[in-house]
């Protein structure tokens, strides 16, 4: 808690002392230096992690790559700064990075007090529960009196307390310092339930000796919309990041993928797809980018669905279902304003 106050104080200080960035300054600076400096997590399975070859991969990483593709037509023109949760906002405020794509929850406080702007939501997360299958529990409502493993000092702890109080249930919290320890505790039977953000529960489940012995319950007890963040006061850059993400979501909605984008671009008569690929309409002009900005994103990074499946979905070891992150037309809430 203390740390949080310190953070908020330092952030406020930053917001008040730093000169307001000129609109467009970041985009121009990025274009001048030739790459996007992007802050990512030092390691979060499926969102940002270095692979065997030392390349950063993940859903958050793909947002950075999409922005690079939009600005430079080359998704590889991005440099990653691995950041811890504590230093992420300072790195952005101080200009060390151009954008932050690090599983950051969009909240009122962060949006207003920190001098930051959230550009969108690339993953709707929420706190969930993982239980031993042998327990025979099918819903979180049946967890009265359960022993629950949890990481200390996180908002998950507060959400948990709220949820159990509002449902009139009791629980016993068993706190651990790291997620590795909490998994070991869960495995050793110290607790019946492990709680964390759902996206992380799937990763924690793989760490079990026998992942099939545990299951993730359907209930989600908190809202954690995660998205890319930029500095306040630079609308041009905000829009570039925001619409890079929207382009990915729109592409999925229209069924344009990295595989068929060339063909669609040549043959499509659909005015929506033509606008998406910069063949008609406002093209890249509004964003001060080249007309093929969205084509480059789709071609090099893929649409949102592709990025999701590749990094956290069925094409990855995590096998997270789309759930809330399905398109609005398919039962989820991923929705992007139209490109027109």
């Amino acid at each position: 808690m203390k740390m949080k106050h310190l953070m908020a104080a330092s952030a406020l200080l930053a917001a008040s002392t730093l000169p307001v960035a000129h609109a467009g300054a970041t985009l121009d600076a990025v274009k001048a230096k030739g790459f996007v400096q992007c802050g990512v997590s030092t390691g979060l399975p499926g969102f940002s992690a270095a692979n065997d070859k030392g390349q950063w991969t993940g859903l958050d990483v793909d947002v950075c790559r999409a922005v690079a593709a939009a600005v430079f037509g080359d998704a590889s023109k991005v440099k990653f700064t691995p950041l811890t949760a504590k230093e992420r906002f300072t790195a952005l405020q101080s200009g060390e990075i151009d954008m932050l794509s690090r599983n950051t929850t969009w909240t009122l406080t962060r949006d207003t007090n920190l001098g930051l702007n959230f550009a969108g939501v690339n993953y709707y997360d929420g706190q969930g529960f993982m239980v031993h299958k042998s327990l025979g529990v099918k819903s979180a409502k049946e967890l009265d009196g359960a022993a629950i493993c949890i990481r200390a000092g996180t908002t998950t702890e507060l959400n948990l307390a709220d949820y159990f109080r509002s449902n009139g249930m009791k629980y016993q919290a068993i706190t651990y310092d790291t997620s590795d320890e909490s998994v070991k505790g869960f495995e050793a039977g110290r607790c019946d339930v492990l709680t964390s953000d759902q996206s992380q529960l799937y990763a924690l489940r793989i760490k079990l000796k026998d992942p099939n012995s545990a299951m993730v319950l359907p209930e989600v007890i908190s809202k954690e919309p995660l998205g890319p963040v930029v500095r306040n006061g630079d609308e041009d850059w905000l829009k570039v990041v925001r619409w890079s993400l929207f382009a990915m979501i729109n592409a999925e909605e229209m069924g344009v993928t990295s595989k068929n984008v060339d063909q669609v671009r040549k043959t499509t008569k659909d005015p929506g797809k033509q606008r998406l690929l910069g063949l008609s309409g406002i093209k890249g002009q509004g964003l001060k980018l080249s007309d093929d900005w969205s084509y480059n994103i789709i071609k090099q990074v893929g649409n949102y669905g592709e990025a999701f499946e590749r990094n956290v979905g069925m094409g990855s070891p995590l096998k997270i279902a789309r759930g809330l992150n399905a398109l609005w037309s398919k039962g989820g809430i991923q929705y992007a304003p139209p490109i027109r």
């Binding site: 030092t42 065997d52 230093e87």
Partner: protein
């Protein structure tokens, strides 16, 4: 030949012409004397053997017998023991971080130069230690900087954000040690100085830096410092961390060295004064050689701690050996091999720390000039 002489009596087993009984010498004798001298020692020995059996048999079974060594993916790990494939696949990253693969020779060359210098300095047989000292303290840092960082002499630039793994750990530790040591000596002398302002400043410095945890220093350097600089003015995160570590460690070295200075008898100072030596000569020729020799264990202890403390940089997102292993554990393809990763990290740290402590013991023996009680 005196028939009348009385037959000399010997206690059993003590006759000078006979071999001692087999139960008193050799392996069996040693065992009897050290492990089975009486019934409770025998009991403790057996208990110890049983405990060792309980610990080491499963450990060796896990780490060697049932371990997987070959392959490139987690599918290769089927035997149920340690999955060293994980460490093998990631070894390049653990050693060099994200240093470009085609430039890794630069790190290797730097490491080789460093190893040569260390050998030169530590092996007693090789002469010209002074040359090695100058090379190590003056020439090597410059060469190492240009080799590792590049950007000139036709070498491509490799930003410090790409440094990582063992390379980064060693850079932090070596630079920290080499820079903090002289600063610490100066502070120790300052604290014992007769000039009030120098003394007060030294005391204030030492107490300030000793009073804060290293993690706070690193956090300040990484999170707070950039806020006080104008926007767009950033200096390297690694450099910030290094400065923090140096300033922090210098205060600890200072106190260790001060302990040595206090242990030198007053007569030595007075003798130096009587010889007409000025302050610098007195310290360099008489006092410091004796004082530093006395505190070798303390200094090496501090260095050892510093080496391990470098892992704290993971809270500011610098990927040193431990942090890069932790990062690798978050790769969805390698989830769940934390034990292998941490065992590897522990082994590497142990090798370096053990090496340092052996060297310090050798140094103590070599510099032992008969004052030891």
């Amino acid at each position: 030949m005196s028939e009348s002489s009385v037959q000399q009596e010997y206690a059993p087993g003590t006759h000078p012409d006979w071999d001692p009984p087999v139960t008193e010498v050799g392996v069996i004798g040693w065992l009897r004397e050290n492990l089975f001298s009486n019934w409770w020692n025998s009991l403790l020995t057996l208990l110890g053997i049983y405990l060792a059996y309980l610990i080491f048999v499963p450990l060796i079974d896990w780490a060697v017998v049932h371990a997987d060594w070959s392959g490139d993916t987690r599918d290769a790990c089927t035997s149920g023991g340690a999955c060293w494939v994980f460490v093998k696949v990631r070894l390049g990253q653990f050693l060099y971080g994200f240093y470009p693969a085609d430039q890794v020779w630069r790190v290797n060359l730097t490491g080789a130069l460093f190893a040569l210098l260390i050998l030169w300095l530590t092996l007693p047989r090789i002469p010209y230690k002074r040359v090695a000292g100058v090379l190590g303290l003056v020439v090597f840092p410059v060469v190492a900087y240009f080799l590792l960082h590049g950007g000139s002499f036709g070498l491509s630039e490799v930003e410090t954000t790409k440094w990582g793994g063992l390379t980064l750990t060693l850079v932090l530790a070596v630079v920290g040690i080499v820079a903090a040591f002289p600063l610490g000596i100066l502070l120790a002398l300052g604290r014992r100085s007769e000039m009030p302002i120098v003394r007060a400043l030294s005391v204030a410095y030492i107490e300030l830096w000793r009073g804060v945890p290293l993690i706070t220093v690193l956090f300040m350097s990484s999170v707070m410092l950039p806020l006080f600089l104008p926007e767009g003015v950033n200096f390297d995160k690694l450099l910030r961390a290094l400065i923090g570590i140096i300033l922090f460690q210098a205060s600890y070295i200072a106190e260790v060295v001060r302990g040595g200075l206090q242990a030198i008898p007053k007569g030595q100072y007075e003798a130096a004064d009587a010889l007409g030596l000025n302050y610098g000569k007195k310290m360099i020729l008489i006092i410091l050689p004796q004082a530093l020799k006395l505190v070798i264990p303390g200094i090496v202890n501090t260095f050892n701690e510093l080496f391990k403390d470098t892992t704290l940089v993971l809270i500011i997102g610098l990927l040193d050996l431990l942090a890069i292993i932790k990062a690798a554990l978050e790769d969805p393809n390698w989830l769940g091999y934390s034990i292998e990763g941490y065992v590897f990290a522990g082994a590497v740290f142990w090798i370096f720390c053990f090496g340092m402590s052996r060297y310090s013991q050798a140094l103590e023996r070599k510099l032992h000039t008969g004052h030891k009680r």
